[in-house]
């Protein structure tokens, strides 16, 4: 134990100064240092600092709600305010739990805001999709490829769209097809799909990444793309 009573946990070394009033070694600016000093365990101003943190993150959550309101006509303002409050509450808990991991590579407020942004975004996407079925098949409708600047040289859109549709149905596993159709074709938010499939956002993105690599290989084999990069080696 240090002389001020904090356990010398390697995870917290450098994350908060043990000398009140001194800038934290993990903070790159004075404002961030004040936040860290106020929020650290044992701070005499901790309750007030947590209160201010909650206010900060609630304002962030509410701004997020306002930004997305137009895309959620099926959600009431009352539900949105509850979502903002709950998201801010959860973000405060996440910030305090992870305070020791703040490395000072950004401002504290930017680092803290991202917890509010993530919580609010996930909650709002779930609300927006709560009454919607996840389409499980691309169906028979024509697929039109938007050839706005892409990563590689490509052939004409009509043949490309046909080749892509063919590849989706012949080159992917059933799970890869389900994921890429839902996420990339039907526009289902990744966390909504993760909830419905009982998996995680990270796992789904890995599946999407692998599916995309398979499609790129198929398009190259068919002559639609330039030669392969390292990412596409099976």
């Amino acid at each position: 134990m240090t002389e001020l009573g904090f356990a010398q946990d390697p995870a917290t070394v450098g994350a908060a100064s043990v000398v009140p009033g001194e800038p934290s070694p993990a903070a790159r600016d004075e404002e961030s240092a004040r936040w860290l000093c106020g929020l650290r365990p044992g701070s005499t101003d901790r309750d007030e600092a947590i209160d201010r943190l909650h206010g900060l993150l609630l304002r962030a959550a509410r701004r997020e709600v306002v930004r997305r309101r137009a895309s959620m006509p099926n959600v009431t303002w009352g539900e949105l305010e509850i979502a903002a409050q709950e998201s801010a509450d959860d973000a405060v808990v996440a910030v305090l739990d992870r305070l020791a991991s703040f490395e000072g590579r950004s401002r504290f407020t930017t680092w803290a805001y991202k917890f509010a942004v993530l919580n609010t975004s996930v909650t709002l996407r779930r609300l927006a999709w709560r009454e919607r079925e996840i389409p499980r098949d691309a169906g028979d409708w024509p697929l039109v490829i938007d050839l706005a600047p892409g990563p590689e040289e490509v052939a004409q859109g009509i043949d490309l769209a046909s080749a892509l549709r063919r590849a989706i149905y012949t080159q992917l596993t059933p799970h890869q097809r389900e994921v890429i159709v839902a996420l990339a074709v039907m526009g289902v938010p990744i966390d909504v799909l993760a909830d419905r499939l009982g998996t995680s956002r990270g796992a789904l993105y890995k599946t999407l990444h692998d599916a995309r690599a398979a499609l790129r290989r198929s398009l190259r084999d068919a002559g639609f793309l330039a030669s392969a990069g390292k990412e596409d080696t099976p």
């Binding site: 805001y113 991202k114 993530l118 892409g150 990339a184 074709v185 956002r201 995309r212």
Partner: protein, 79 residues
Amino acid sequence: MSRPPAYRTVGLPLLIGADTPELGCDRCFDLLDVYVDTELAGDAADQTVPGMRAHLVGCPACAEEYRSLLDLARTPPTG
């Protein structure tokens, strides 16, 4: 049940991604604050956090969160 659309327009990067290395969603979240503040400082965010840009092109959810965080960090809400 709603009628299906007559067609679907999809951006090519969203379907086939890119050949470049990219972060996953979890790592993107871990580093998003660094990326945003580096960008706002006028520094080379893509060099500071390699793979972030490629992920934001390929992941609409993370891209949405990036835009929100950029907006908050640039113009913090008052009240």
